[in-house]
């Protein structure tokens, strides 16, 4: 995934030898917001990718601060200002099912 490296760096785990296991997506083990819903592995993988993409959008400084706005509002504002936000983020926002994904990363936590 061509990411800017922001979020992945937070949750990277380093183990000094010992038992090696296939490294999962870095944030999945440390993320407290992951809800244990029974889904197929493929769907879960896709959702995590979408969530990561949305978090990158949140953290992107070009579109301004993310607190206080829903992601859709922030995307629309960026589009109106002529900042050319990427259309795949909009696509994810339009078809996402959970309402938690519509709020920014820090909503309710800060």
């Amino acid at each position: 995934m061509a990411s800017a490296g922001g979020i992945r760096g937070f949750y990277r785990e380093k183990k000094k030898g010992g038992v090696t296991k296939p490294s999962p997506k870095p944030y999945s083990t440390a993320d407290p917001a992951c809800s244990p819903v029974l889904k197929s592995a493929h769907v879960q993988g896709q959702e995590k990718e979408a969530e990561e993409r949305l978090r990158e959008f949140d953290m992107d400084m070009r579109y301004g601060p993310c607190l206080g706005l829903t992601r859709t509002e922030r995307w629309n504002r960026a589009a109106v200002m002529g900042l050319n936000p990427s259309p795949d983020v909009e696509a994810i926002l339009l078809k996402c099912s959970s309402s938690a994904a519509l709020e920014c990363l820090w909503e309710g936590r800060v």
């Binding site: 301004g64 601060p65 206080g68 109106v80």
Partner: protein, 427 residues
């Protein structure tokens, strides 16, 4: 509108002049805005974004050979241009944390009117970072927090930015007004009536109302009065004594003290509204919201005057067009706040600076209450007004300002009527 002379002799009929009015307060009205607990970072972002686009278009004409960098992209010793929001670090600026950090006994009881100190320094900030500004080119006493400028300079070895030159946005473009010399039309500005305060003189105000409505004087006076097309009341029309506003339940006799000033004012407003169009703006002491932009005073406050269609309750700041002449003004909070945090030789200079920075109230939301907008900053001045007025000032001052692109505008400081008894008539 007719204004017949009351008196003996051959009655002369003066018709009051009319002017085409267009209210442009739409951008200051808060409707449909949902407050979701957002902070002020959004309004600063939109301000920086708009002003940066503007400055980016002006930089090539100013210094075309220098590159524009973000603050994190600064390289030591390399001359470049940076654009960002200015922040002024002030030692004496009162902070809420002082209550917790200092002993209560050492906090000075007398608050200074002006928070300036020789140790104040400026910092420039954009989304990537902030940098302290060094050098003697920029005088901290002139600038305040919240203005967006472009700076030419280079980074020094201790991480500061040494400023060599500054670019402000300058006066906005002005729509040229066709000079119509056929008729003389006047607009009256009043401010700081403070009905209900101890300084209010009802006779003086009644004299003013009579004069404006044409019930006073001989033919000469009345012909002058008939040329008045509008009255703008720029804030602080009523003053309710602080003792009753403490939030406790009021006894019935005190309740009448609360409403008396407004009722008294309404009676005078009826006389004014019956004669000519009146615009009323809220001010710091009026029963309106505290943060800028103040919303129009509610109609229920003026049961008598709001019946007239000539009565218009406006926002603060107020913008309108009269016969294609653009008027823009406030009730004084923006300029008063500037005078607390910076220095100038007179209030007109503060007004000139706000126009050059293209922002009506740069200290909002830092030290001036402001609504936390998320997608716009309504205080940005896009087109240069022909008349720029500020109410509730100490004395009457005016100046004609000329801009580099043939902009011509008049700056007016309207004094408080309760103190000076002066109303301003503009041609």
């Amino acid at each position: 509108m007719e204004d017949a002379e009351m008196g003996d002799g051959s009655p002369k009929h003066f018709d009051r002049k009319q002017a085409v009015y267009q209210n442009l307060d739409e951008r200051y009205v808060i409707h449909g805005e949902r407050y979701r607990g957002q902070q002020y970072s959004q309004i600063y972002f939109t301000r920086l974004h708009h002003m940066r686009n503007l400055l980016n278009s002006l930089v090539p004409k100013w210094k075309p050979h220098l590159p524009v960098h973000t603050i994190l992209g600064l390289e030591e010793g390399k001359e470049c241009i940076i654009i960002g929001t200015m922040y002024k670090h002030m030692k004496l600026k009162s902070s809420i944390l002082d209550e917790y950090s200092k002993e209560r006994s050492t906090v000075p009881l007398v608050k200074p009117h002006n928070f300036m100190h020789p140790d104040d320094h400026l910092i420039l900030e954009d989304e990537s970072g902030r940098v302290k500004l060094a050098g003697t080119f920029l005088a901290p006493s002139v600038y305040v927090t919240g203005i967006v400028v472009a700076l030419h300079g280079k980074e020094t070895s201790d991480g500061d930015f040494f400023v060599q030159d500054v670019l402000e946005a300058g006066l906005p473009p002005q729509i040229e007004q066709p000079l119509d010399l056929r008729e003389d039309k006047h607009v009256v500005f009043i401010s700081g009536l403070s009905v209900g305060s101890s300084m209010f003189n009802p006779l003086q105000f009644q004299l003013l109302v009579d004069h404006i409505t044409g019930h006073l004087g001989d033919e000469n006076e009345q012909s002058i009065a008939s040329q008045i097309v509008r009255v703008v009341i720029a804030g602080n029309s009523v003053q309710i004594s602080q003792g009753i506003l403490s939030g406790q339940t009021l006894a019935p006799k005190d309740q009448s003290r609360l409403t008396e000033p407004i009722k008294e004012f309404d009676i005078s407003l009826i006389q004014l509204a019956a004669a000519m169009p009146v615009d009323i703006m809220p001010g710091p002491s009026d029963p309106a919201n505290f943060s800028l932009p103040q919303q129009p005073l509610h109609r229920c406050l003026f049961p008598g005057a709001s019946v007239y269609n000539t009565f218009l309750s406006c926002t603060n700041p107020h913008q309108f067009e009269l016969d294609d002449v653009l008027f823009l003004g406030t009730s004084g909070q923006n300029i008063d706040d500037l005078s607390k945090y910076s220095d100038a030789k007179d209030k007109l200079e503060f007004m000139e600076r706000t126009l050059k920075w293209r922002h009506l109230a740069p200290t909002a939301p830092n030290t001036l209450g402001c609504y936390p907008y998320t997608d716009k900053d309504p205080f940005l001045i896009e087109s240069c007004p022909h008349v720029y007025f500020v109410g509730n000032q100490d004395k009457y001052e005016t100046r004609l300002l000329q801009g580099p692109e043939k902009q011509l505008l008049r700056l007016i400081c309207i004094p408080r009527f309760c103190e000076t008894g002066v109303a301003v008539v503009a041609y």
